[in-house]
């Protein structure tokens, strides 16, 4: 536990907390010296490629691999059935915490039935990737195509096609949150507004595709996997269990990870297959997904249709919100995290900033013969916020109030926290009002409205958007994964050690995909311990080196891993001061550590450097009394206890221009004010918000996995699936209201998804603000030019 003095140290002017330190990983990357999985070289490495299903649903009648096996360089051809024999049992992507949830059993590759366009069916391993791909062309498969489920709207229709024979009704999960008097509130309301919203499928498009290099050492029975992953320990558990290797014999190394955004918290059948090939061949096997197969095998997300209603008094007070979510999953629920979180989070957070007492939220998650869906940055929040904030804008319009003023009157005021929102979730340390005030200053809102009015008269149609949000970050153990049966740690850990030299090693269970987790952990440890950043090395992403942890997902690295690091460093500091007290004949409480030197507390008179403590503690222990046994190491874990998440909040503003003749949307400026609690490194926090915003904007405006009636993905290339480019994106101004969470001593909340979660909401509100004179409204995402023209009745 942190003492009052420890907490004061966090606030010192020269503290590492709140300072913009640069990242050593960045210094390496700009020189082209990053080491990603494909850059790892092992002698005799073979390469895997996959034959994938060309149909959304088809029975495999016959597979002939003879010609492929004869190809030059081919080492192994393995069918789904052959791989299944090497696996312990199929995956079932359910969690017991989701009552009544169903999913079909899934093998890493299709066995006798392929259920999505892109599902792996046969693996070829050869001396080179090119040779493996050549041989894939010669694998002959006789298919019997079957009618697929291509639309979520018709998936539950009795007598229609089924996605997988194991789930006769195509229903994955239903959930309802209901405060009980919603119908009454709507019946008594002065004003009721309804709208239906449609959200298209997206996928993560990490610039480095999924990547894996597996090596099995038959002598030591060690399986080592280098993989581009956010969650090494989860990968260790799943791969070990699936392939029947003891978990402690599996080492997962995540080298530099070239983008992930949730994609790389998952397990994929092709990666298991490549690992099985390494075990079968007794030589390393590498699998690097190419971009085309990424589009049909990486998880997808966001496909939802939401009907929403909001009930108001004539004074403009929100009485109730009611949403009905139809969520389109893929052919299987993604193991082990499931495909129902998106819907679950929509239910949790929609209209979460507001003070209404009545709330009903229903979700129906259905299976389709499409790529499995699962967690992608800000799971559910882009949808929930878009729906909630669009309804709030319509409500403001209905009572003739400015959308900012309407929000100011309806948000839960800052002083009301802690409180339980209508969705039944306890929230604390929120700052809606403070964030609105800060946003108004930053946007110069009134001036912007005046400019908008002037330009409108000149036929230029600009829109101003506002969107408040709450965001669940840093999930606790009582909610979902571990408690639902998945091998995913919700606590995280840090082991910190003082080396003989006085240097400090800091091993953390959370991982760094470029956010700057290593740097932030270093800043926290350096502050708590009282040493310079230069004397600390942070180690992450290697299950052989770090204490067990959940890794980085759900904006948890700083909030959970940071607190574990903080507590571990305080514990090591305490031990160092005890040892120094023995050596100096002083009370530990009279000593402090400043810049790597034990000093007298208060006067800061130097007494003994940590290099001496390290030297004596490791080499000269004979000088110590026998009952003094230096460990010079501490491990601490941190988890939430009573809370589902550490919730954050904030508000976005957007300014854009719509061309009513072409439907083109030009983003002009974007603002975010958010409250991630104590900010450790403001520059890195800002960049998380900015990058997150652009991912949200991509989904709102461009990104869409388009399927045809046969459930075939139509735009699976980077030329056809549009991600944001530099010239389309605006400058993004970021500010923080710092309201440290009372859940931890450090006070940090998550920040990585706050941009993504609300950017689609604010841009949709801004587009509709621009279209208001036309009485037109866009209610679908992505908001393509076509969607805008359709709203205007022009196409």
């Amino acid at each position: 536990m942190a003492t009052k003095e420890d907490l004061i140290r966090l606030e010192r002017p020269n503290s590492y907390i709140g300072r913009n330190l640069t990242r050593s990983r960045a210094r390496r990357a700009v020189a082209g010296r990053g080491q990603y999985t494909d850059d790892v070289l092992m002698p005799r490495t073979a390469h895997a490629a996959f034959v994938r299903s060309p149909y959304a649903k088809a029975r495999i009648m016959r597979i002939d691999t003879a010609a492929a096996k004869e190809q030059p360089g081919v080492l192994l051809v393995m069918t789904g059935a052959e791989l299944a024999e090497r696996c312990t049992e199929p995956w079932v992507g359910t969690l017991t915490c989701f009552d009544g949830m169903k999913s079909a059993p899934q093998y890493p590759m299709a066995v006798d039935l392929a259920v999505w366009h892109g599902e792996p069916v046969v693996m070829v391993v050869a001396e080179t990737r090119a040779e493996a791909e050549d041989a894939c062309e010669l694998v002959e498969i006789e298919w019997e195509p079957l009618p697929p489920v291509a639309e979520k709207e018709t998936a539950l229709r009795p007598g229609g096609p089924v996605v997988h024979p194991a789930i006769a009704d195509n229903l994955a999960f239903r959930k309802t949150i209901d405060t009980g008097k919603v119908d009454e509130a709507f019946a008594n309301a002065d004003i009721v507004i309804e709208e239906t919203f449609e959200f298209g499928r997206h996928t993560a498009v990490s610039l480095e595709p999924r990547a894996l290099l597996a090596d099995y050492d038959k002598g030591t029975q060690r399986l080592t996997i280098w993989t581009s992953s956010q969650c090494p320990h989860m990968i260790q558990a799943v791969f070990a269990r699936t392939l029947g290797v003891p978990e402690h014999n599996v080492r997962i190394v995540a080298p530099d990870v070239g983008g992930s955004f949730g994609l790389k918290i998952h397990t994929f059948g092709d990666e298991v297959a490549a690992t099985a090939a390494a075990m079968a061949l007794g030589r390393p096997v590498k699998f690097i997904a190419d971009r085309l197969e990424s589009f049909v095998s990486d998880i997808h997300a966001r496909e939802n249709r939401v009907k929403g209603r909001i009930a108001l008094s004539k004074e403009g007070v929100i009485q109730a919100v009611d949403i009905d979510v139809l969520s389109g999953a893929g052919a299987y629920s993604q193991y082990p995290r499931t495909s129902v979180f998106e819907a679950n989070q929509i239910l949790n957070i929609t209209a979460g900033p507001y003070n209404h007492k009545e709330y009903r939220a229903r979700a129906t998650v259905v299976y389709m013969n499409k790529v499995p869906t699962s967690q992608y940055r800000a799971v559910g929040h882009p949808i929930g916020n878009s729906v909630g904030e669009a309804l709030v804008d319509l409500a403001a319009e209905a009572v003739g109030q400015d959308p900012v003023e309407f929000r100011r009157r309806n948000v839960i005021p800052d002083e009301a926290f802690p409180t339980t929102i209508a969705a039944g979730i306890k929230l604390q340390d929120m700052s809606h009002t403070a964030c609105i005030d800060e946003l108004m200053k930053r946007m110069d809102y009134d001036a912007l409205r005046a400019e908008q009015a002037v330009l409108r008269r000149q036929g230029i149609h600009r829109g101003i958007g506002i969107a408040a949000f709450i965001k669940g970050t840093a999930p606790g153990p009582s909610g979902y994964y571990g408690i639902g049966g998945a091998p995913i740690a919700s606590q995280d850990a840090c082991t910190i050690k003082l080396e003989p030299s006085g240097g400090v090693l800091c091993m953390v269970g959370v991982t760094d995909q470029g956010q700057g987790v290593d740097t932030v952990m270093g800043q926290i440890a350096a502050n708590a311990l009282g040493v310079s950043m230069e004397s600390i090395r942070v180690i992450s992403g290697d299950t052989d080196a770090v204490p067990y942890g959940g890794g980085t997902y759900a904006s948890r690295a700083t909030a959970i891993g940071g607190e574990a690091t903080y507590q571990a460093a305080l514990a090591l500091r305490a031990e160092i001061l005890v040892l120094a007290g023995v050596l100096l004949q002083a009370e530990p409480a009279t000593l402090d550590i400043v810049d790597g030197i034990v000093v007298d507390a208060g006067t800061e008179t130097p007494r003994i450097p940590l290099s001496e403590i390290g030297r004596i503690g490791h080499f000269q222990v004979a000088e110590l009394p026998n009952d003094v046994k230096p460990v010079l190491s501490a491990t601490r874990r941190f988890r939430l206890t009573d809370d589902l998440y550490i919730f954050t909040n904030g508000i976005h503003g957007a300014y854009l221009e719509v061309d009513p003749d072409t439907g083109f949307i030009k983003l002009l400026k974007h603002w975010v004010v958010e409250d991630c609690g104590r900010v450790i490194n403001p520059m890195l926090a800002d960049e998380q918000v900015r990058g997150g915003c652009v991912q949200g904007l991509g989904g709102a405006l461009y990104e869409h996995c388009i399927y045809d009636d046969a459930a075939q993905l139509q735009n699976g290339t980077l030329a056809d699936y549009r991600v944001p480019m530099a010239f389309e994106m605006p400058d993004i101004e970021v500010a923080h209201v710092q309201n440290p969470t009372t859940i931890s001593d450090l006070g940090a909340k998550g920040v990585g998804e706050s941009g993504t979660g609300a950017a689609p909401a604010v841009v949709m509100n801004a587009v509709n603000d621009a279209l208001r004179p036309f009485k037109a409204r866009v209610t679908c995402q992505p908001m393509t030019p076509e969607a805008v023209l359709r709203a205007l009745g022009k196409v």
Binding site: T22, R23, R25, A26, R27, R28, A29, V30, A31, G32, R33, G34, Q35, Y36, D38, D39, L41, A130, V205, S206, L207, E208, P209, D256, V257, G258, G259, S260, F261, D290, R291, L292, Q513, G514, Q515, G516, M683, L684, E687, R690, G691, G692, C693, V694, Q695, T717, L718, A719, V723, P724, M725, A726, F727, E728, M729, D731, I732, G755
Partner: protein, 163 residues
């Protein structure tokens, strides 16, 4: 270039100032050659169909998509990769600004982004943020949202023009 068989040919080119001669498969693209044969792993493959720009390298003084050019087409060419660009210190100021401004996160797009930005800087002309954004639009970044990249390029341009 000498064709050995139908499938392979011998090429000689200059890579980062060093003359190299290799036998390559005629279907191998330039970045697979650089990464696989020469172990210059700084050039990355993000799409292999010419869209993302992560594989950008300089060939004969011009930035090209390394995935859209065959290794055999580089016979006789001068090639500069991020490793060579770094060693020459031509963009040391830009790299410094990228680090200082945190204009990269995962770093996968960064070598290509620096290659393209170097071309803009080498033109010696001032550029607005809008023009910088336009110039960099052939290089995708999925992490930063581009704002910090534009800041870093803008700062470098300003420093160079102010001399």
């Amino acid at each position: 270039m000498t064709m050995n068989t139908e499938d392979t040919a011998e090429i000689t080119c200059t890579v980062n100032g060093e003359r190299v001669t290799r036998t390559v498969r005629v279907r191998q693209h330039l970045v697979d050659f650089l990464r696989g044969e020469l172990q210059l792993t700084g050039s990355h493959l993000g799409c292999e169909h010419g869209i993302c720009g992560a594989c950008s390298v300089r060939v004969g003084g011009v930035v090209v998509r390394g995935c859209l050019m065959l290794a055999v087409q580089a016979d006789g060419a001068e090639i500069v990769t991020i490793e060579g660009l770094t060693d020459s210190e031509e963009v040391a100021d830009l790299q410094e600004n990228f680090v200082a401004r945190n204009a990269l996160q995962c770093g996968f797009c960064t070598p290509g982004m620096l290659m393209t930005a170097a071309e803009l800087l080498a033109s010696g002309r001032p550029a607005s943020r809008e023009q910088i954004r336009e110039f960099l639009s052939g290089n995708f970044c999925r992490c930063t949202g581009y704002h910090a990249i534009v800041d870093a390029v803008e700062a470098t341009l300003r420093q160079r023009l102010e001399g």
